[in-house]
């Protein structure tokens, strides 16, 4: 009789012995621990369908790993050895071949690909899924539109294994937009079976169930507690994922996430305070990977429609007053990309983000304030999003201190996370700290959302300028027809103007930080900044 069976069959008496014998531990369980990767993070998904209403960012991670797309990105190695997605190189995923024509792209699908339940994936499923993304509304439809993918008619079934995507207009974002998290391929028959008239796209089914053919499948999801993933043993769209089972536990306390890592009980964690990352890095017990957000900038924004920030001299004065280096040292502990203090003779690059030429210079700032007619300063409020208080709060306090030196008295306004979006939308906050980062890593993409006069929600400053708009559109059009000279001129044009007019002051480029055990390999940085499980392995 085995020890475990004995214990099982024994009654209450055995229970009391078990309490004094901590080694009740079957070998099978120890084995499964070795094949399981434990990820701990602060928050979990609320919906495992990227097309769902209000799917949160952790939900993107599930969608990324459990669904497949037509194409994906190749990897490249950064100088520090980190695997990083290559935004210019695409590789086939469900499509084994992609032919880009003048006004359309044709995808040949793999014939051996199946969904998790074994059903073959055909062009009909791909079309249904893309139709769903462009018509379901909300975030997915918005994201598809960013690549000029707007109408179901654009997706044409040629035969069972061939699909053509017709272009509405020439747009160089179209192909990259097919490789983001949103254009997933879903099991149309399975979802249709679980849909009804009120919910034709079966959103309530996919909210809780995976209907795809990605490298992993959700084995169990306990909202707010954990997600358990099992490897898709029949995965054909790439190499078989390395880890059999992934457990993602929600551990809200940052201190305990760190303790779990240091004790070696958790394998990977992100969302730790910067200070912890730096200390962990110094202790050398763990692998800490810090990667700059692609196309992301943390900034100090100003509402340019109202005095005093309608005056460019005031904005420049603020740009000279910001304590950039202090923020880098005391708030980020060095874990941020420098976007300030470029040498005066530096040529503008065709890149974003890049450093501006402002530096902390109180004398210059005071002079500019005087020229602007605000010798005695003024009072205003400085707002930030409490959801990211760990970074935002100390940043704002430092800025408040420096602005006081040039006579600008600020009251700090802490806005609850749920309210932040509403406040931004109203476009009335005079001065605020915020972050923006685009999935598609192109300067004109960033500028279109953040500086263009169409006044999207991310043009939080309500900035309006004809020259700016002209340059952004010129860059977009030039990129579509591969006109390099015009493109570079336009990009330099809008970057220069953004720095001269400073409606928003770039503070730094945020880093995405991940801590993992030394025996964990295969981490990759993706534009969505969540984990890709395929290559993660232990030991």
């Amino acid at each position: 009789m085995k020890r475990r069976d004995f214990l099982k069959s024994a009654g209450a008496l055995a229970a009391s012995t078990a309490l004094t014998a901590p080694a009740v531990f079957s070998p099978a369980k120890a084995q499964s621990r070795a094949e399981t990767l434990l990820i701990v993070s602060e928050g979990g998904p609320n919906n495992i369908d990227i097309h769902g209403v209000g799917t949160n960012v952790p939900g993107y991670e599930v969608a990324w790993n459990c669904y497949s797309r037509l194409i994906s990105h190749e990897m490249k190695k950064l100088p520090n050895g980190v695997e990083y997605y290559d935004k210019d190189k695409f590789k086939p995923e469900l499509a084994e071949d992609m032919k880009i024509g003048d006004m359309s792209a044709t995808f040949k699908l793999r014939k051996d690909a199946t969904f998790h339940d074994g059903t073959k994936i055909t062009a009909k499923d791909v079309k249904w899924s893309l139709d769903r993304a462009v018509t379901v509304g909300g975030f997915p439809t918005f994201q598809m539109r960013a690549g000029s993918l707007e109408k179901p008619e654009q997706f044409v079934i040629v035969d069972d294994h061939t699909l053509r995507v017709d272009f509405l207009r020439k747009d160089r974002m179209t192909i990259p937009d097919l490789a983001v998290v949103v254009p997933v391929v879903m099991h149309s028959e399975l979802i249709k079976k679980n849909a009804d008239e009120k919910d034709p796209w079966g959103l309530s089914y996919t909210k809780q169930n995976i209907a795809g053919g990605g490298p992993y499948n959700v084995e169990k999801w306990t909202p707010g507690t954990e997600v358990i993933f099992a490897r898709n043993e029949n995965y054909k769209l790439g190499p078989l994922p390395k880890t059999k089972r992934i457990v993602w536990r929600i551990v809200p306390s940052a201190g305990n996430r760190r303790a779990l890592l240091e004790r070696g009980d958790a394998d990977i964690s992100y969302e730790l305070p910067n200070k912890d990352f730096v200390e962990l890095k110094q202790s050398g017990k763990l692998n800490i990977v810090s990667t700059p957000f692609s196309n992301g900038v943390q900034y100090l924004g100003m509402n340019v429609t109202k005095p005093p920030f309608d005056n460019v001299k005031v904005r420049q004065a603020v740009a000279y007053a910001v304590p950039y280096q202090k923020i880098m040292d005391a708030v980020l502990y060095g874990l941020g990309g420098k976007t300030f203090g470029a040498p005066a003779n530096k040529q503008t690059e065709v890149a974003w983000p890049q450093a501006h030429k402002y530096n902390s210079d109180i004398t210059k700032a005071k002079k500019l304030m005087e020229e602007a007619g605000y010798k005695d300063g003024f009072e205003t409020t400085l707002s930030f999003d409490l959801n990211f208080a760990g970074v935002n709060e100390p940043t704002c306090v430092l800025i408040q201190e420096s602005l006081a030196q040039i006579g600008i008295k600020t009251t700090i306004n802490k806005v609850p996370g749920a309210n932040w979006r509403t406040e931004l939308n109203k476009k009335v906050m005079p001065l605020y700290v915020n972050v923006f980062s685009g999935w598609l890593d192109y300067p004109e993409y960033f500028f279109f959302w953040c500086y263009h006069g169409a006044n999207s929600i991310f043009n939080t400053m309500s900035y309006q300028s004809k020259e700016m708009d002209a340059n952004i559109i010129a860059a977009r059009d030039a990129a579509a027809i591969n006109d390099k000279t015009t493109y570079e001129k336009a990009v330099k044009g809008f970057v220069d103007q953004a720095f001269a007019d400073v409606p928003r002051i770039p503070l730094y480029q945020p880093y995405s930080n991940v801590a993992m055990q030394k025996n964990v390999s295969g981490y990759q940085y993706w534009f969505h900044r969540r984990l890709d499980y395929r290559n993660l392995a232990k030991g």
Binding site: L7, A14, F25, G138, R249, V251, S253, A259, A418
Partner: protein
């Protein structure tokens, strides 16, 4: 008597109705726009509007209220947007987790606090009395998250005695088949001692944290009530009749001192159940308190309403139960009824 009970029930129903109205109104008054929050970081004004229509938030408030009450009457508490589940399902899954933790904490606390309180009263002014005062004061003055972090730091991080603070079970175990939702009981029903032991180990630190916090009210109340009883006439009579000290204290004094203690226990239990959010956060415990707080942060109305409603009903039931217990303990209450 029936009339009295009927009146009581009427008042109960009225307070529940009031709770429904008030929570509905309060959650609507909260700052924050649910639609904007759930439209996500990259949403346009139009996308937010689409979400708002989908959630029915563009309707007039009274219409939303009528729909809410209709749904409630069908047992539908609405959908949580943060977890994506029906609220009733979430609460059913999370209430046992909180209740198991609270019971465990309370039992530990009672086992220590009541003897300590009795002893402190019997030996008033002695070293034991001072010791109990120090323990109680220290326990109540340390914030629970601090005690929790401290315990986790020592027993998990430094000593490695306690298991990792990642919720109700280590990741290598799966939950026992659902019967009561209490892992300790369910694992015994399933005769899986391995899981029972694992669940118990996870429970020790958070339960100890709660116990330390709730020591104070129980110890102090036991002591005060014992002191009052010990100085009363019937105890003097009992002593004068030559009964043993043991008999006097345990049979006569303690039983009479129990009434206020039971009341306190009821209060402490309901308070802990709702207020152990911090302990739940520290130990990643999937309980109902952290659920409500997360929902509140996200301006997610339905779970907050559901939480308040369930809590209100539980308070009412708990008070009813305590009233009944009074009758068992004190015959006078029975007679009066």
């Amino acid at each position: 008597m029936l009339l009295r009970m009927g009146r009581r029930l009427g008042i109960t129903l009225f307070s529940i109705a009031a709770v429904i109205v008030i929570t509905f109104a309060l959650t609507r008054l909260l700052p924050g726009d649910t639609a904007a929050y759930f439209a996500g970081p990259a949403a346009t004004e139009q996308a937010i509007q689409e979400v708002r229509e989908k959630l029915g938030l563009d309707r007039p408030k009274y219409e939303q209220f009528v729909r809410y009450v209709q749904d409630l009457s069908r047992g539908d508490f609405g959908q949580s947007l943060t977890t994506g589940q029906p609220v009733i399902k979430d609460i059913a899954a999370r209430l046992p987790a909180s209740a198991e933790l609270t019971f465990a904490g309370l039992i530990v606390s009672i086992l220590i606090a009541i003897p300590l309180g009795v002893l402190a009263a019997v030996k008033e002014g002695s070293a034991v009395d001072h010791f109990s005062r120090v323990i109680a004061t220290a326990g109540v003055s340390l914030p629970v998250f601090f005690t929790g972090l401290l315990l986790a730091y020592f027993f998990y991080f430094i000593l490695g005695w306690a298991p990792s603070p990642i919720g109700r079970l280590d990741i290598i175990y799966s939950a026992p088949p659902h019967v009561t939702g209490f892992y300790l009981i369910d694992s015994l029903i399933a005769r899986d001692l391995e899981v029972f032991w694992a669940a118990l180990k996870q429970l020790i630190l958070p339960a100890a944290t709660l116990a330390i916090f709730s020591l104070a009210p129980i110890t102090r109340m036991t002591r005060a009530s014992m002191l009052a009883v010990l100085s009363s006439d019937f105890v003097r009579t009992a002593r004068a009749s030559g009964l043993s000290t043991r008999k006097v204290i345990l049979t006569y004094a303690f039983r009479n001192a129990l009434l206020p203690v039971i009341t306190t226990l009821g209060m402490v239990f309901s308070f802990l159940l709702g207020a152990n959010v911090l302990v739940e956060k520290v130990f990643a415990w999937p309980g109902i308190g952290s659920y409500a707080v997360e929902a509140l942060i996200a301006s997610d109305f339905a779970p907050v309403q559901g939480f308040v409603l369930v809590m209100a009903v539980m308070y009412v039931l708990l008070n009813l139960m305590i009233d009944l217990l009074y009758g068992v303990i004190d015959p006078r209450v029975r007679m009066a009824a």
